[in-house]
């Protein structure tokens, strides 16, 4: 048993994310072909689908990294399309990356502190003096970062350079950095990919804690079916950029179209083997 969580972040009011009829293509490749989904403020929505289905592209459209040709993405009262990624972050959407996008030369603490960026005064003139608000903000950021570090059991790695840490720890640091944004919506791109069973269980508990204690809405991509079935309130299945099923976990798992999409590459029903990872796992997508 983990000790009770000590996280006392005050997260802002969650918001609803609505994606409607999204189309995205790269020259010949149709990455997204009419994808719609909604993440209600009290939900964890999982997006699943075989490799190359367009899952990461969907997150990239939401966070402003890719620009879809058609469709709409709304968050609370804001239209996200046309926003730069930093603008999306400022509206309260935090995310992690499938292949990690940490600052590997920096310490764990600095990575998490960078998550606090929006809440610290960071002008060149104010920082030259390092007094008043700059100093206060900095102290506050250290407080927030420290709570997150404790929540994710990263104390032992606080000063360590990220590049020297094991993969599972790096995944946790990236979650911590996203939490430091104190977001209204959290997007996770394959949070447990490449993790061993114990690390997967830890991650499941962190996500559950976040959901239960803060009601933080989550949009998550994951190949690990056990993880998805245990945590998701709602599942969207993509195949070749096309939504082929959409509903609560039990319903989606029984859907013949879903079974077929997965059977095309691996045998057995969707929720059969714990940690089943269909057509795993190329890292061809370049998130930069």
């Amino acid at each position: 048993m983990r000790a009770e969580t000590s996280l006392t972040l005050d997260l802002p009011e969650p918001q609803q994310l609505s994606v409607d009829d999204l189309h995205l293509s790269f020259k010949a490749v149709r990455a997204l072909n009419g994808v719609s989904l909604t993440v209600h403020p009290d939900q964890l929505v999982a997006v699943i689908g075989p490799n190359g289905a367009g899952k990461t592209s969907l997150l990239n459209c939401i966070s402003g990294v890719y620009r879809p040709q058609h469709g709409s993405v709304r968050f609370g009262g804001h239209d996200l399309l046309g926003q730069r990624p930093h603008g999306v972050a400022q509206l309260g959407i935090a995310r992690t990356f499938q292949n990690l996008a940490l600052f590997t030369g920096m310490s764990t603490l600095d990575n998490v502190l960078l998550g606090c960026h929006q809440r610290v005064r960071a002008g060149p003139v104010s920082s030259a003096l390092f007094r008043g608000r700059t100093r206060r903000d900095e102290l506050q950021a250290h407080g927030v970062a420290e709570e997150i570090i404790e929540f994710l059991d990263l104390q032992a790695h606080r000063k360590a350079v990220v590049a020297d840490l094991p993969y599972g720890v790096q995944k946790r640091i990236e979650l911590g950095r996203a939490l430091a944004l104190q977001p209204r919506l959290l997007m996770l791109d394959e949070p447990v990919a490449g993790m061993n069973r114990e690390e997967v269980e830890d991650m499941a508990r962190y996500v559950l804690d976040l959901r239960l204690e803060f009601g933080l809405p989550v949009l998550m991509i994951e190949h690990n079916m056990r993880f998805v079935m245990d945590l998701a309130d709602h599942i969207v299945v993509l195949d070749f950029g096309q939504p082929i099923a959409d509903g609560p976990p039990a319903q989606v798992a029984a859907d013949p179209k879903v079974v077929e999409a997965y059977l095309g590459e691996s045998h057995g029903s969707v929720d059969a083997a714990p940690g089943a990872t269909p057509a795993h796992h190329s890292s061809t997508d370049d998130e930069r």
Partner: protein
């Protein structure tokens, strides 16, 4: 079980103020203080040759520190900093000489003019990255030389311009003041002035890099997509650091021009830019002290060679010499030195210093 583990872990420091100190250890602070005092004592006793060497080293430290903010901390290579040094110097000529404004106005103004100029250029420059940016800023040096040469109204053209001397209240930097037994020659005053400005600049830069602003710079350098996702406005950060870097470099330029007294356009050429880059790389990019180490090394070593030159065999004197002259030997050693550092300690002299310190601290154990 987990609770037990938790109990044995060190409690996180509650007073985060401790983390925000400029010097990590009292020893570090004492060391820096000792170097400052040592240099000051030296400058009050040394001959003017060595004092002027130190003044040049201090001014170069300011310029390289400015460049470091841009290239070392935020990862944008600039070959154009000779232009900003020159622009700072000519701003001093224009505001201090032509308009007779006081030193305490023209010095910061030189920085501001450079900052504003860099903001005007940045819409073009900041679309570019890496080597493209290097080439674009290279163009700046040639543009600058052309302008400096062809605006004789301000720059004196090829004949050169004389740059005003600093004076603060009754303290004039062109004559000697006697304080008791201490003879404050202009050179010694210059040492104190450049030293004070450098300390202020280093303080400001240390503060920049230990705040959210500095973290954003390094984030942009290390992974710009990740930086954006966290809410860092990458374009704006690049713009800001370009201006800030030019600000400090412009201040160095005004000081350098003033210390040289007479400046001509060809002084602000590509070689000066390359020299600053070399100082930065050899000293250690992305560390505050690296810039100073690099600037001191590259300023002092050539002067030492110049002094020792006549004693060294094979060295010929005179302008018409065909063999190895002091200046040729200097260029040779310069190149050799850069290569040695890049091959054996790519992180610069600062890293070498860190290793030496660890070795001393852990003596007699070796690792």
């Amino acid at each position: 079980m987990a609770d037990l583990v938790r109990l044995t872990r060190p409690a996180p420091p509650q007073d985060y103020g401790e983390r925000l100190r400029i010097f990590a250890t009292p020893g570090q602070r004492a060391g820096v203080l000792a170097v400052c005092v040592g240099l000051t004592v030296f400058s009050m006793t040394a001959s003017s040759f060595w004092i002027s060497t130190l003044v040049f080293a201090l001014i170069a430290s300011i310029a390289v520190s400015g460049l470091n903010l841009l290239t070392g901390f935020s990862g944008q290579i600039s070959l154009g900093h000779a232009f900003f040094v020159g622009l700072g110097a000519y701003t001093a000529v224009y505001l201090g000489g032509e308009h007779g404004l006081p030193f305490l106005v023209w010095l910061p103004a030189a920085g501001l003019v450079c900052a504003v100029t860099s903001l005007l250029i940045s819409p073009f420059a900041l679309r570019l990255r890496g080597l493209y940016l290097a080439v674009a800023t290279l163009a700046l040096v040639f543009l600058g030389q052309h302008l400096f040469l062809n605006l004789p109204g301000i720059t004196g053209g090829a004949q050169g311009a004389s740059v005003p001397q600093p004076s603060i209240g009754p303290l004039s930097f062109s004559e000697t003041t006697q304080i008791g037994a201490l003879e404050l020659t202009p050179d010694r005053k210059w040492f104190l002035l450049a030293g004070v400005v450098l300390v202020l600049v280093l303080l400001a830069i240390t503060n920049h890099v230990r705040s959210g602003f500095g973290r954003a710079l390094m984030a942009v350098r290390d992974h710009d997509t990740a930086a954006e996702i966290l809410g860092v406005d990458v374009a704006r950060t690049k713009l800001t650091v370009f201006a800030l870097s030019s600000f400090y470099t412009g201040i160095a330029g005004a000081l350098l021009g003033s210390y040289l007294r007479v400046i001509t356009p060809e002084f602000w050429d590509l070689f000066l830019s390359v020299e600053y880059i070399a100082m930065l790389i050899v000293g250690g990019m992305g560390t505050v002290m690296g810039s100073v180490l690099g600037a001191f090394t590259f300023t002092i070593v050539p002067r030492v060679i110049e002094r020792l030159g006549p004693q060294v065999p094979f060295i010929e004197a005179g302008i018409a010499a065909e063999g190895l002259t002091v200046s040729r030997l200097n260029v040779l050693l310069y190149g050799l030195f850069i290569m040695l550092v890049l091959v054996f300690e790519p992180k610069g002299l600062v890293a070498l210093w860190g290793r030496a310190k660890r070795w001393v601290v852990s003596w007699p154990y070796r690792f």
